[in-house]
Amino acid sequence: MCGIAGIIYRDGTHDVGVEMTRMLQSMKHRGPDSTGYALYGATADGGYVMRYKLADANDRRGFEFAERLERCRLEVEARLGELGAQISSAERETEYAFRLAFRFEGDLKSVADYVEDVPNCEVLSLGRSLEIVKDLGDAESVATQYHLADFVGTHAIGHVRMATESDVDISGAHPYWAYPFSDVAVVHNGQLTNYWQWKRRLERAGHRFQSMCDSEIIAVYLAEKMSGGASLEDAMHDSLDDLDGVFTYIAVSADALGVAKDEMAAKPLVLYEGDDLVALASEEIAIRAIIDREIETYDPYEREVLVWQR
């Protein structure tokens, strides 16, 4: 069991950091191991935002741990410089997690690959407006750690994880960035039974995987489809035939949010479509955590793909 949530406003920017925290905290019982957010803020002025980590929350702190992190941080920034990126801001979010804003003209995959070549570096997200934040603990503790109360944006998805088949660490936490595709992320509740087949297929196509979590497949699968010219919605429709198992997942891009359910509709999702926003979550209490009134909600059916554009 995990909990997933999404919110997209039809217009303007809103306190999506606070709202997603409320939604995820109300579903804490569905997944106490880790919490993650994919938040879409104001588009960087012609530039990119990259979130990355250099260690995990529960890594053993050996000798010179802090010094190693600092060396790696400087190496990441140096490598971006080598590729021609102009860094406009660099922030340390936690001891091991960082946020960089930079201008860059070129291939994003080369950036991600070269940066991830730095020891223990994992790019959590890379995009014009996408920022993925994930860590161990519940929503309130992650939001406090990463100052998400200040995050203003247009849409967001989130995930509370109850780890079943892979480690409790940040790499195993959702959301997953659709490496190397800009601004696309996924959260998933369920289990994919043809994980290894797709992992091998996508690795042969040149994609990298940072975790042993089956959900990472969905993000990379969508990226592969979209890099071939498919829209997010088309890629999600294809996934219903290609992915095997039980799943409900939410995928987001810079201007859209969509949900897909497998043909057994075995994983829950409750949906509210209002005039100003669309909110969806594994449980209605998550939606009611941000909309404090009686609302009309429903469950999407099996093999359904629904996408909302901004």
Binding site: R22, Q25, S26, K28, D138, E140, E263, M264, A265, A266, P268, V270, E283, E284, I285, I287, R288, A289, E294, I295, E296, T297, Y298, D299, Y301, E302
Partner: protein, 262 residues
């Protein structure tokens, strides 16, 4: 006070939520009627207050305002009474009830009325998957649409849905009746043993051993009576589906019935 969405719910060694919670005693009681606002209460507090007024205060008609889609509300009420929820319930609402007449002025999440024994539940809006799972008796009326596996393992009673139903509706149904006025998804009545399913709309596909049944006057009488009781207007034209009895051939008698036969 423990509330949904905050980190103040306590658990004991057995995993019992809020083991020390007590009924908040906030209901306004007027003779046999009572009303209380659940907005600031936890699930356990709401259920404790509901039980207090129904079992200890001589109340037979209680209204719960602002249930806020919290889970497991109104479960295990085993007395004849009238309960009105002034909003939506979360998952596992009204499970294991035996006797109440319940009106939900909103929606109910997954597993509404699971294992209901008797009574009446009317839901004004939609309900999630597994609605009426394993119900043994009573009437469950959903005025909106329902999710997948509605009436799974149904052992009695009647489920009426005015809207659509999802896949595997009536999966492993064993007894009772189901009336779906909208469309239904794939696998209708899959592996059903007994019981009757009526569908007005399109059926995406029939499940294993579910076959069209012959319409009788008893079917007309049942459907018209149920629609009349709940003020649902004229029933639509329905198709009847039953078990083909090619897959399983279990004895359908209850133990008490078998004794009579023997």
């Amino acid at each position: 006070m423990a509330t949904v969405g905050e980190s103040r719910v306590t658990y004991d060694a057995r995993g019992l939520a809020e083991p020390d919670a007590e009924a908040p005693r906030i209901a306004e009681i007027d003779g046999e009627k009572a009303v209380f606002d659940a907005k600031e209460l936890s699930t356990r507090q709401i259920n404790l207050e509901l039980r207090r007024v129904l079992y200890e205060s001589g109340v037979t008609d209680v209204t719960v305002l602002n249930p806020g889609a919290k889970h497991s509300l109104g479960v295990g009420i085993l007395t004849r009474c009238r309960i009105t929820f002034g909003g939506s319930l979360g998952y596992f609402g009204l499970g294991l009830i035996d006797g109440p007449e319940v009106h939900v002025k909103g929606r109910v999440g997954w597993s509404a009325c699971e294992n209901m024994m008797s009574g009446v539940v009317v839901i004004d809006s939609n309900a999630g998957s597994l609605t009426g799972a394993a119900i043994r008796g009573g009437d469950l009326v959903v005025k909106g649409k329902v999710g997948a596996r509605t009436g799974i393992d149904q052992k009695g009673g009647t489920i009426i849905v005015l809207g659509d139903a999802g896949s595997m509706t009536g999966f492993m149904m064993q007894r009772g009746r189901m009336i779906i006025c909208g469309d239904v998804g794939h696998g209708l009545g899959d592996s059903m043993y007994e019981g009757t399913i009526y569908v007005a709309g399109k059926v995406k596909s029939l499940g294993i051993d579910c076959v069209p049944g012959e319409w009788t006057d008893a079917d007309t009488e049942l459907v018209e009576r149920k629609f009349r009781i709940y003020g649902l207007g004229s029933p639509p034209e329905l198709q009847k589906f039953v078990c083909g009895k090619q897959l399983y051939n279990y004895d359908t008698l209850e133990p008490s019935e078998r004794k009579l036969v023997i």
